[in-house]
């Protein structure tokens, strides 16, 4: 049975990498930071052709039986790395703000983008903490120019209890107030930097991603933004940044104006990330968790060097 749950239901414990469990039990010095040197191993992580001199006992005989090729397994050791994850909490992320939009032509209730961003951000953070990495989660807001807010979560239990609190408050950060364990600080240089957001706000994700040696942009849009078949032709749509500029629903739908503009814009974002040497995925609240995991797995295994991983 195919798992149909989407990112709207994602929780931190949804671990994406099945192989990782094996690695975790291997008594290795672990962490997600891959060391440059690859070592031979029995574990089927990656393989290469046998070269004379390799230990014979590490030949994958089953593979030989299948393919008449001598194949040998190898792994790269990992070390604990510093990871920082930025979750965009600016005003566009608080969309959809009206119930009539959230229920528009959809059988499911559509969550706000910030909810999905928090779910994804916490999921990534949980996974990295579980791998033994040091993780900082940042809440980025375009209205606060001086310094960012860092969530004081270092352990999995902190993360899970805060996530439970967020779920209880329906991911309304404002209602948490002082219950939110934060401190003001400035992000520093790390090994891995994630940015989870819609890239619509004035928050400069490029500056943040440059702090990481490995850079990931999780480009999150609402499914209502990705596909606007729900818009009413007689209603006008505007953005709070420029309230005088507005578009009629009919104009957006009939001329493909919206679709083309969205595609161009997403391509630009992808190219920017690519120019930074980073990785890019685009998700919505309706992205199946399985697909999301598949993409993250590509990243984690280091296979997905391409930044054009495509939209889900």
């Amino acid at each position: 049975m195919q798992d149909t749950s989407t990112l709207s239901d994602l929780i931190p414990q949804h671990v994406y990498d099945a192989q990782w469990r094996i690695l975790q039990h291997s008594q290795r010095h672990h962490g997600s930071h891959l060391l440059a040197v690859q070592q031979l191993s029995r574990f089927p992580e990656s393989s290469r052709k046998y070269v004379a001199g390799d230990p014979i006992h590490l030949i994958d005989w089953q593979a030989y039986a299948r393919s008449d090729q001598l194949v040998i397994r190898q792994v790269r050791e990992e070390a604990s790395s510093r990871v920082q994850i930025a979750i965009d909490t600016s005003s566009p992320m608080r969309w959809p703000d009206r119930e009539e939009v959230r229920n528009a032509n959809k059988s499911n209730r559509i969550p706000q983008k910030i909810e999905v961003a928090l779910r994804v951000g916490f999921n990534i953070a949980y996974t990295h903490i579980a791998r033994g990495d040091r993780v900082d989660v940042w809440l980025m807001n375009d209205s606060e120019s001086t310094s960012a807010k860092r969530l004081l979560v270092q352990r999995q239990t902190d993360l899970l209890s805060l996530f439970a609190l967020l779920q209880e408050k329906q991911f309304d950060l404002d209602s948490l107030g002082e219950h939110l364990p934060i401190e003001r600080a400035n992000p520093s240089q790390v090994q891995v930097a994630y940015w989870v957001g819609d890239a619509l706000s004035h928050c400069r994700f490029g500056d943040f991603l440059r702090l990481g040696r490995t850079r990931y942009l999780v480009h999150l849009l609402s499914s209502l933004e990705a596909d606007i078949d729900w818009v009413d032709p007689s209603t006008f749509y505007f953005d709070v940044d420029d309230v005088n500029r507005e578009f009629q629903g009919a104009e957006l739908v009939t001329n493909q104006t919206y679709k083309e503009s969205l595609n161009r814009w997403m391509t630009r974002i992808r190219q920017r990330v690519s120019a930074l040497g980073g990785h890019y995925i685009s998700i919505t609240d309706q992205t199946p968790i399985a697909k999301y995991h598949a993409l993250l797995a590509e990243w984690a295994s280091g296979l997905a060097v391409r930044t054009s991983s495509g939209r889900i």
Binding site: V101, F238, D239, D241, W265
Partner: protein, 865 residues
């Protein structure tokens, strides 16, 4: 006939209606706006759209609104239907109103007036109900005969008060209700008619004017317009300036003016008004002592009557006498003061007496009251001066102290005002205190002097005692009672006011009062106590009633209303403009015409109100009904339709045959009644396809055979026309059908069978033996080979990239029947192999070469990865 009466309100209503319709049609473009953050990424500019746009509104409420607003606008036009109703004099109610104001008597006597009234009565009294009222009162009556009317008119006579018809008829109509006709019997003078808006009454009542004025007269009307008393209060001669006026100035007139009081002739003078002179002033004077008895207030109600007589006659006699109150009246008072020497030099009270006299007081002086008291009625004002060494009984009048308790004081017109003052500063105030206590304190001090007076021997003690009784301080400072000139106390029992002075009222250095200051101080105090006032105003003059209906009809308590002076408006005898008067019926016109049956136009708004109200109600119901219907249709009916559609679908499913995904073996020329139950079981267990367990066998080709995807044939005769395939079979194959021929047929026949039936593109197409890598060999099971029969092999005809005809060299299905049969090849075939071949054929028939389609490739690759 329809009447409209547009008003300013109509214009406003029409304007609002138009504005509302505009609002209906004009809507703001930004009717609904929704925030969508991705709008900022759209990189092309929008067209400028107008902020407002026209949109035709939903027709049901708009139509209802139009109807309602139209009705309201029409309402403001006050639409009416004009009705012509006939007034039958027999059913009608006529009212005669007799104007008996002074001006009416100008040219006719009361007898002539009565005669005119009777003429009117006689003309109209036949049949109609007639009521009569006069300007004397609001009383209406219904005379039984003309004589009764004549007597009533003569008995009442003309009144001296003026009349305003507007007020009078308003009061009259308010009491009598609806009248058909009002006939006002009047002379039409301006004073009477000027405030009467008879046009307003004309809507419901016909108003007529019965003119009783005479032909133009050459006589003047001379009257007294004003009289002014010009004498100073203490003068011995009473002088009056009297203004005479007249209505016409064309000729010189002269006459006599006479002043009378209570039957006493006071003065008489001649006067004259030269030609072109409208006014003249005459001075009348007489010695004051001539009417000494009149100079006291108790005779105030007897008026001074000024009468003029005109040589040659006057037009209006009733205004020739005019009444005035007497002026220069003196107030009587009592002064009790022991003489203390020569009047002007030594008597301290003399100067006070002089001052009071100049202020119009006639003070009777008593040296002492030891033996006899002045009567309590002697005067309103009492001044008591306690001399040095006098005992209380010598100056304190018993009549006042007793009068407080025996009720005599309450019988007076007004309670007395008493001034109690010391004769000099250095005196024993004890006796003064005793007098004060008798005048103001309780009854027990009437016979027994209070003990505290023994402590009030000095002025300070006197002042302290006054303050302790609660008397109000007059003069001085708020915080310094010693500077107070007097203290005022009002006796609650009798209402008598006592002003107890702290200083003697005589000119002295020690009291600070000079000869000039004393009278003004006394005047101020008298003014404060309302004993002295400025010259009497016109308000205090003899009443001149301008409007009898306003004053007398409502309030009969007005004094001297019977003897009211004639108002100048009546005396001027000015007539109203004839154009402003109601229809006039004079004595010269035949009065009988009044009695003729008249038609009156009335305006009836009821049908319009009814029609418009019904329209508004209809509009309302229209909107409610249609809107409700639409809502029901939208919300409920749609659900019903959906529900019924589902029910219908279920119902149809219930009565329809079961639609199973089953495959039948369609065969032609097979033995009937053969079944393939075992094969069907195998097929369903190995694949997801259900096979029908019996064959559909027909001897001939039928449309049913051509509706299935495959067809098993044993004899070619059924599918052949000559040596070729039948056209319908060819078409069926073109559409995708798979033909399976179970017979050993040589290749030539097969070639002949399909010749020219299909367009072959290359050599691979056409009849060929089925190779080992053919789709038939691997469509489900991987088969190594197909069983041959007597060296004949399986052949396949390929067309359009697929297998279209299979030629099996033996009766293949024979081995798969539930009861297997011989195949004619000399040996039995393996059932398992045959089953596998059958499944593969089935797959080819249903899905052709599905493996070649590679629809499953991504999944396979994914599995491999």
């Amino acid at each position: 006939m329809v009447g409209f009466d547009p008003t300013f309100m109509s214009a406003i209503a029409a304007m609002l209606g138009m504005a509302s319709i505009l609002v209906w049609l004009l809507v703001r473009r930004l009717q609904k706006r929704i925030w969508l953050p991705t709008m900022r990424i759209i990189d092309h500019e929008t067209r400028k759209l107008p902020k407002l746009r026209f949109r035709f509104p939903h027709w049901i409420p708009f139509l209802a609104f139009l109807m309602a607003s139209l009705c309201i606008i029409i309402f403001t036009f006050k639409p009416t239907r004009t009705l012509v109703s006939t007034v039958n004099s027999h059913d009608a109610h006529f009212h005669f109103f007799f104007d008996m104001s002074p001006s009416t008597s100008a040219d006719l006597t009361i007898d002539q007036y009565a005669d005119a009234s009777v003429q009117l009565w006689d003309a109209l009294s036949r049949g109609a109900r007639i009521t009569v009222s006069t300007s004397h009162s609001l009383t209406t009556f219904q005379p039984n005969s003309s004589q009764e009317l004549r007597d009533t008119i003569r008995r009442l006579g003309f009144h001296r008060a003026g009349l305003r018809l507007g007020t009078a008829l308003k009061a009259l109509m308010g009491r009598m209700g609806k009248l058909d006709r009002i006939i006002v019997v009047s002379d039409g003078d301006l004073h009477t008619w000027q405030d009467f808006n008879w046009q307003f009454l004309q809507r419901d009542t016909d108003v007529f004017w019965y003119d009783v004025s005479a032909e133009s007269s050459t006589l003047d009307n001379v009257f007294i317009s004003r009289a002014q008393y010009v004498t100073s209060p203490d003068a011995g001669l009473a002088e009056w300036d009297i203004d005479l006026a007249r209505d016409q100035w064309q000729r010189a007139v002269a006459g006599t003016i006479r002043a009378q009081w209570n039957g006493i002739n006071l003065a008489q003078e001649r006067w004259s008004l030269p030609k072109e002179y409208g006014r003249s002033t005459v001075r009348l004077s007489w010695p004051v002592n001539k009417i000494e008895a009149a100079l006291y207030e108790r005779n105030r109600s007897v008026p001074l009557v000024l009468t003029i007589e005109v040589d040659g006659g006057d037009r209006l006699l009733i205004d020739n006498d005019r009444r005035f109150f007497l002026r220069g009246l003196k107030r009587s008072g009592v002064l009790i003061a022991a003489p203390s020497g020569e009047l002007a030099l030594e008597d301290s009270s003399h100067h006070m007496n002089i001052a009071l006299s100049t202020l119009g007081f006639d003070m009777k002086r008593w040296d002492h009251v030891r033996n006899k008291d002045p009567e309590i009625e002697s005067g309103h004002f009492w001044a008591i001066v306690a001399g040095r060494g006098d005992d209380v009984d010598s100056f304190c009048p018993r009549s006042l102290t007793e009068g407080r308790f025996d009720g005599r004081m309450k019988m007076l017109e007004a309670p007395p005002i008493v001034w109690l003052m010391p004769g000099s500063l250095e005196m024993n105030y004890e006796e003064l205190c005793k007098c004060y206590s008798r005048l103001v304190l309780k009854k027990k001090f009437r016979d027994r002097d209070p003990s505290f007076c023994a402590e009030s021997q000095t002025r300070a003690g006197w002042l302290e005692m006054l303050a302790s009784t609660g008397a109000k301080q007059i003069g001085g400072a708020v915080d310094d009672a010693s500077q107070a000139i007097a203290r005022h106390f009002k006796d609650e029992i009798s209402g008598m006011e006592v002003l107890a002075f702290s200083i003697p009222l005589n000119p002295s250095l020690r009291t600070g009062l000079s000869y000039g200051k004393l009278p003004s101080l006394i005047q101020s105090l008298l003014q404060w106590q309302k004993l002295y006032g400025p010259a009497q105003s016109d308000k205090d003059d003899w009443p001149t009633i301008e409007d009898i209906a306003e004053r007398v009809w409502r309030d009969t308590e007005i004094p001297h209303s019977e003897l009211s002076n004639v108002p100048q408006g009546e005396s001027l005898l000015t007539h109203m403009d004839q154009n402003l008067m109601p229809p006039r019926w004079s004595r010269q016109i035949l009065l009988n015409s009044l009695n003729s049956i008249a038609n009156r136009e009335t305006k009836d708004p009821f049908p319009w109100i009814l029609t418009l109200s019904f329209t508004v109600i209809f509009a309302m119901l229209f909107e409610v009904t249609l809107s409700s219907y639409q809502r029901i249709r939208k919300r409920i009916l749609r659900k019903w339709i959906k529900a019924s559609a589902v029910l219908f679908a279920i119902g149809f499913l219930g009565i329809s045959e079961v639609a199973d995904a089953q495959v039948r073996i369609t065969s032609i020329g097979f033995v009937r009644n053969e079944t393939v139950g075992n094969l069907a079981l195998e097929v369903s267990s190995r694949t997801s396809i259900d096979l029908y367990k019996s064959l559909i066998d027909t001897n001939r080709l039928t449309p049913l055979s051509l509706s299935e995807p495959w067809m098993w044939v044993r004899s070619l005769s059924e599918i052949r026309e000559g040596k070729r395939l039948r056209r319908d079979v060819v078409n069926w194959i073109r559409k995708g059908g798979l033909l399976i021929i179970e017979n050993d047929i040589n290749s030539n026949d097969l070639t002949e069978l399909t010749r020219d039936s299909f367009e072959l593109r290359d050599e691979k197409q056409g009849w060929n033996p089925i190779p080992p890598d053919h789709e038939l060999m691997r469509s489900f099971y991987l088969l190594n080979s197909l069983p041959s029969c007597r060296e004949s092999v399986w052949r396949g005809y390929h067309f359009d990239g697929r297998l279209a005809i299979i030629a099996i060299p033996y009766p293949f299905l024979n081995g798969l029947y539930d009861v297997p049969k011989e195949t004619g090849c000399g040996h039995r075939y393996d059932v398992e192999q045959s089953t596998r071949i059958f499944v593969n054929i089935l797959m080819v028939a249903l899905a052709t070469d599905y493996k070649k389609d590679q629809i499953h490739l991504p999944e396979i690759l994914k599995r491999l990865r």
